[in-house]
């Protein structure tokens, strides 16, 4: 065992580091880039994505023919590790490039791929994913947004319904929407996917104010929106597969779970306080955060080792999100506790160095829900990894129409 790069990996890392050094400024310790508004963050992220794409770092694992680098997953992770050392905007393209476009590559037509892939890669066109609805979250198969064939002679569809939790919809040029096309089939069978221009008449976007005061999510209303049939992705009734293709690609979210120096910053803060250094109950909390943070890093190292050997990472990474959310929350709360009663102050009082703590603390509550709640993750691990039987389902053997009429 060792934690070193192979010679090939080391060469690639050097290449990344050299390129980054000439195109970005290094982060100082604990620095965290902040923006005055979400709009500013989005445009900074677009510009950075454009720079990366122009230099062959826009999509490491994509084939060269599509403008990617033709690299391996491990190279993707190496680039991200190096990129994290620089003062660059957090990417808003994970959904575009990590989920929607990969699904379009599998299920879209040649024409669609030729038109849409490059602008997405270059950061010119941002995509969002219109999946969840007010009555379909964890149980995504229960979406109600309808797509009906036009009855006026046009070769297209009329979409009506409401989506929710759509990240960056208010900034996105395009979106991929999952709709119900046949309510008389079982819930997973009667769905179809389309892509839409977010400026299409009838689409109404309302930002949602989140618990942290920010507005990254949106409600998206489809008020009888006309979509030509050529914007259908995959066959009619195949929407669930199109969606799963997108979600499967999420596995590359391996990497960068937690800031690597998390526990070190905490240990330094403790060390600067005489009372804390001598309080073993504080030190035990530091230990637990270290055990979780370092453990996550090690789990990731095992996953990377498998990837490097051309294997699938083991199932243990599936619990990483649960550990990460708890660790972030514990970390932030210990940082706050170390401030004494001043722990109740916001970054506006503490200064900008506190913004990261504040963001992570709010963020941790969201991470427990986003991309599968802790409870859904535990169901999945229990059933797929431990092989335990699923819960009895009350929706089996029923059509969607029967399910909603209950």
């Amino acid at each position: 065992m060792d934690f070193k790069d192979t010679p090939e990996e080391a060469i690639f890392r050097t290449e990344c580091a050299q390129w980054l050094a000439t195109h970005a400024t290094p982060k100082s310790a604990g620095q965290h880039q902040t923006f005055d508004s979400l709009a500013e963050r989005i445009s900074a992220s677009r510009a950075w994505q454009a720079t990366k794409a122009a230099n062959g770092f826009g999509a490491i694992t994509w084939p060269k023919a599509l403008g990617g680098r033709g690299g391996s997953p491990i190279q993707e992770v190496i680039f991200r590790e190096e990129e994290a050392k620089y003062n660059v905007p957090a990417s808003v393209f994970n959904v575009s490039l990590g989920m929607v476009i990969p699904s379009l590559l599998v299920h879209g037509s040649d024409e669609v791929r030729a038109r849409y892939v490059a602008p997405a890669l270059q950061g010119k066109e941002l995509w969002c994913q219109l999946l969840s609805e007010p009555n379909a979250g964890s149980d995504l198969g229960m979406i109600r947004t309808q797509a009906k064939r036009c009855e006026d002679g046009r070769d297209g569809w009329i979409i009506s319904g409401q989506k929710v939790w759509t990240s960056f919809a208010q900034f996105a040029e395009f979106g991929m929407v999952l709709t119900r096309t046949d309510p008389d089939q079982a819930k997973f069978a009667g769905m179809t996917s389309f892509f839409v221009d977010m400026q299409t008449p009838g689409i109404e976007i309302r930002p949602i104010r989140q618990a942290n005061g920010q507005e990254e999510f949106n409600e998206v209303f489809f008020n009888d929106v006309y979509v030509p049939d050529e914007q259908r992705v995959g066959d009619i009734g195949n929407g669930w597969r199109v969606t799963m293709t997108a979600l499967m690609n999420e596995r590359l979210s391996i990497g960068g779970v937690l800031p690597a120096d998390l526990w070190q910053k905490l240990a330094r803060n403790i060390q600067s306080q005489h009372r804390a250094v001598n309080d073993q109950s504080i030190l035990n909390r530091l230990n637990e955060i270290y055990i979780h943070a370092h453990g996550l890093w090690l789990m990731q190292c095992r996953g990377l080792t498998a990837l490097g050997q051309g294997k699938e990472p083991g199932p243990e990474l599936s619990v990483a999100k649960i550990i990460a959310a708890k660790t972030l929350s514990d970390y932030c709360e210990l940082m706050m506790d170390l401030e004494g009663s001043k722990g109740l102050l916001s970054a506006a009082e503490h200064g900008s160095h506190w913004q990261l703590i504040e963001d992570l603390w709010y963020g941790a509550a969201g991470i427990r829900i986003a991309g599968g709640t802790d409870e859904i993750v535990k169901n999945n691990v229990g059933e797929r990894v431990l092989g335990l039987p699923p819960e009895p389902r009350l929706d089996k053997g029923k059509t969607f129409r029967e399910l909603v009429s209950n």
């Binding site: 934690f3 790069d5 073993q280 030190l283 530091l286 230990n287 055990i291 095992r302 990894v385």
Partner: protein, 365 residues
């Protein structure tokens, strides 16, 4: 990045697993629990024939001279079977201590004896290894240590002693009539610990002076790493047992593993085991090739593996319901062992202090 056992090591694991499953089924641990013995010598002897006692010993002692990884893997497989053998006292403490000493005829003879199947033990104050009640005078040892792992069955005794000036020594003695050992009754009597009383026992010097503390510290850290692997194997074994039962047993018309109350609990156990596993691997790496990281890694490994083992040992009983609380089911074997593992090398508070000291010391680098 290469954070995984090699193909050869994984192959080795398969062989050791097959061997331990055959040689040391849980029924043997149960049989020891129901006897007046504290270990199964036939298992120990077949392990000797397999070469497990020789894994890390150098070739001049008849050993294979392999690194830490193979012994760590073996410890995990020993743990999966809760094997009633003197792994802690002999392989993790006595042998690891000898491996820390400078090579000498005295040391090499002792390693050879262990390789041939003799049982060694380490007479050290586990809770405060800087102090000892064993006195050395004129190459003779006198004194008592109240808790020594596997002492009652031991053939050779490695002792931490001080002379009248307070100089420290690590010595070797072979069992003779000047020693008295008394087996202690334990929460888990498939393990063994005893009181050792030495009266003018002849001693050979393995190490002396300030080296002694360093040797003991390294030895106890290595023992913690190996015991962590043993716990990891036991924790996985208990989780498999609970998962199997939860997949078979029905209540209210459903297999109980389909209830989130059971399923989520077993996933929590899986999560703890996986965390412990990566910390154990990291500790094995530190033991094999990064001595500066051993202290931190050993503490992390034993804290995380004890937490995992204690959790699943209890929840395995809970998953089995009333049957889990009977002598007839094997659940109690894991419960008893979990407590033994959790304190055998000092309580969690000791390792928590060691870990936080390391973290504070490393925070600036």
């Amino acid at each position: 990045m290469n954070f995984e056992f090699s193909e050869d090591q994984l192959q080795f694991r398969q062989e050791i697993r097959r061997f331990m499953v055959n040689e040391a089924p849980l029924s043997k641990t149960r049989a020891i629990l129901e006897s007046s013995e504290h270990l199964d010598r036939t298992v120990w002897q077949s392990m000797q024939a397999m070469g497990i006692q020789n894994i890390m010993s150098p070739e001049q002692c008849g050993g294979f001279g392999l690194g830490a990884y193979e012994l760590c893997i073996s410890a995990e497989e020993i743990g999966r079977q809760l094997a009633p053998i003197p792994s802690l006292g002999c392989l993790y403490l006595a042998q690891q201590l000898l491996l820390q000493c400078e090579p000498s005829n005295i040391r090499d003879d002792a390693l050879s004896k262990i390789g041939e199947g003799s049982i060694g033990c380490l007479v050290v104050n586990i809770d405060d290894h800087a102090s000892t009640d064993i006195q050395l005078a004129d190459n003779m040892l006198t004194g008592t240590n109240e808790l020594v792992h596997n002492a009652n069955e031991a053939d050779l005794f490695i002792c931490h002693a001080k002379d009248s000036q307070g100089n420290q020594y690590i010595t070797l003695s072979y069992r003779d009539t000047s020693m008295n050992t008394r087996a202690l009754s334990l929460l888990d009597n498939s393990c063994s610990a005893g009181t050792v009383t030495l009266t003018q026992t002849p001693a050979l010097i393995l190490a002396s002076g300030d080296d002694c503390n360093k040797i003991l510290e390294r030895c106890l850290n290595h023992a913690a790493i190996l015991l962590s692997f043993e716990q990891l194997g036991a924790a996985d074994s208990a989780l498999e047992m609970a998962t199997r039962y939860a997949s078979e047993r029905s209540a209210f018309g459903r297999i109980i593993g389909s209830y989130q109350g059971i399923k989520h609990k077993l996933v929590d156990a899986y999560t703890l085991n996986q965390l412990a596993r990566v910390h154990c691997y990291y500790a094995a790496w530190a033991m094999a090739s990064s001595p500066d990281d051993v202290s931190k890694a050993a503490a992390t490994a034993i804290i995380s593996s004890s937490k995992a083992m204690s959790f699943i040992a209890k929840e395995n009983i809970q998953t089995h319901g009333g049957m889990g609380y009977t002598w007839e089911m094997d659940c109690h074997l894991f419960l008893k062992r979990s407590r033994h593992y959790a304190v055998a090398l000092g309580p969690e508070t000791h390792w928590q202090q060691q870990l936080s000291s390391c973290l504070l010391a490393h925070s600036t680098c």
